[in-house]
Symmetry: C2
């Protein structure tokens, strides 16, 4: 068996986009020819924007909690209010860093509930995570696969910080058409050892590989990973959420 | 400017290896022809093994702390003892999961101080992280680059778990020849927004991309990333460590 290899490339030509767009239809308009085995990685921002997950700050009445935190952290109280509304559990509030770590309705624990102010047209508009990121991935997956005539798994990616490590990396926030993880538990390695703690979060690793070609400033919202031997499945980002009993950092 | 693309492929032919090996020399013996722009990702295990970072359990006298934790967690007390000796700070001890989260001398916060029992020949042998993982990366980088006639950055990778997310992913534990991060702070995106919190941990993302071709069971210890536009630099994994004031989960 020859050594595995894969290719990762960004797709050009996705339009600026606006609320109400059909992301899958716009992707198809690019005219890219998918090949069997391709995985499509789509950045969260174009999905959120198309789904109208934008909040105009003029519509936001900040709570006392938001006003107080904003005052001590130097943030806009309406931004803080949006973050609080997008959270179901606060893990840490860090005024000195202007940072709220919280859990979203999806179960993601991340900074500022994934609420983003950059790369959205217009001033004072916050971009929220898709309401149901697996459903968003599934919708794109189904239309692209139907047109291609074979399954094209879809990963929706966003960039999250990590405790204990500097910098942000891409993660998968929505998955359709493939297993998000590979579970090696119970298998033995080449020396006969049983593998412990060996669930690989491959959807997160694929999102990372995609980020390397998407870039941050040039903001290419689409990438294709070709040649990776994924496990076909319905797929869900829920496999990437830590079971409560393993959450040591509540 | 055309859309960026990259290739990731595993290298076959690295020998079984033993303590005292020169990793760079063994890599060169494979005869792979590096191209300008290639990044070499090397899995921690072959580096640790070559550097003799193996501990025979028969030489380990467990402390009372190790014996107590092992008893309640069902682990081998000698394994726990090795983990404690490789730690400079304990973040969490979780008997129910048999898990110790601690900080290593390098500054990594991870499970069981990166001490591994799998994929090392012989019974009851623990494999420790390289003593100075940047130095290990630099040594390989320098010899490979000298033979190639151009710089070949080297990343030493290991797989770490993450709080709040299920599964492990590859990270960079040693870096030479490139910047481990890209700092976008102060730059504006395509809509004129200044980018916040935008340090990308690209060395970690490259390690993730490599894992996708290295695999876990087949254990290919070497991968090449070709076509990624890295920033040439001395490089260090220290850029991937969180400054103490941002460590919210001590």
């Amino acid at each position: 068996m020859s050594a595995p290899s894969l290719q990762v490339f960004a797709l050009d030509g996705y339009p600026e986009g606006q609320p109400g767009d059909d992301v899958a239809a716009l992707i198809l308009q690019i005219g890219f020819e998918f090949a069997p085995g391709d995985i499509l990685v789509v950045t969260q921002k174009i999905v959120s924007k198309a789904e109208g997950r934008l909040v105009d700050f003029r519509d936001i009445e900040p709570s006392d909690l938001a006003i107080r935190f904003a005052a001590v952290s130097g943030k806009d109280p309406r931004h803080i209010e949006v973050v609080l509304r997008e959270s179901v559990r606060i893990v840490r509030m860090v005024p000195a860093l202007g940072l709220i770590i919280s859990e979203t309705r999806h179960g993601f624990v991340c900074a500022n509930a994934g609420v983003d102010l950059s790369n959205v047209r217009g001033y004072e508009v916050a971009c929220l995570l898709p309401l149901d990121s697996d459903a968003s991935a599934r919708q794109i997956h189904e239309l692209i696969s139907a047109k291609a005539g074979f399954s094209v798994p879809v990963i929706i990616s966003d960039s999250f910080g990590r405790p204990w490590r500097n910098g942000i990396v891409n993660v998968a926030i929505g998955v359709a058409g493939m297993n998000a993880i590979i579970d090696y538990r119970g298998q033995t390695d080449s020396h006969g050892y049983e593998m412990h703690a060996s669930i690989m979060a491959v959807a997160d690793e694929l999102a990372c590989a995609a980020e390397l070609v998407m870039g941050k400033i040039d903001a290419r919202p689409l990438a294709v990973v070709r040649g990776y031997q994924y496990q076909p499945a319905t797929g869900t980002m829920r496999d990437l959420l830590l079971p409560p009993e393993r959450d040591l950092f509540k």
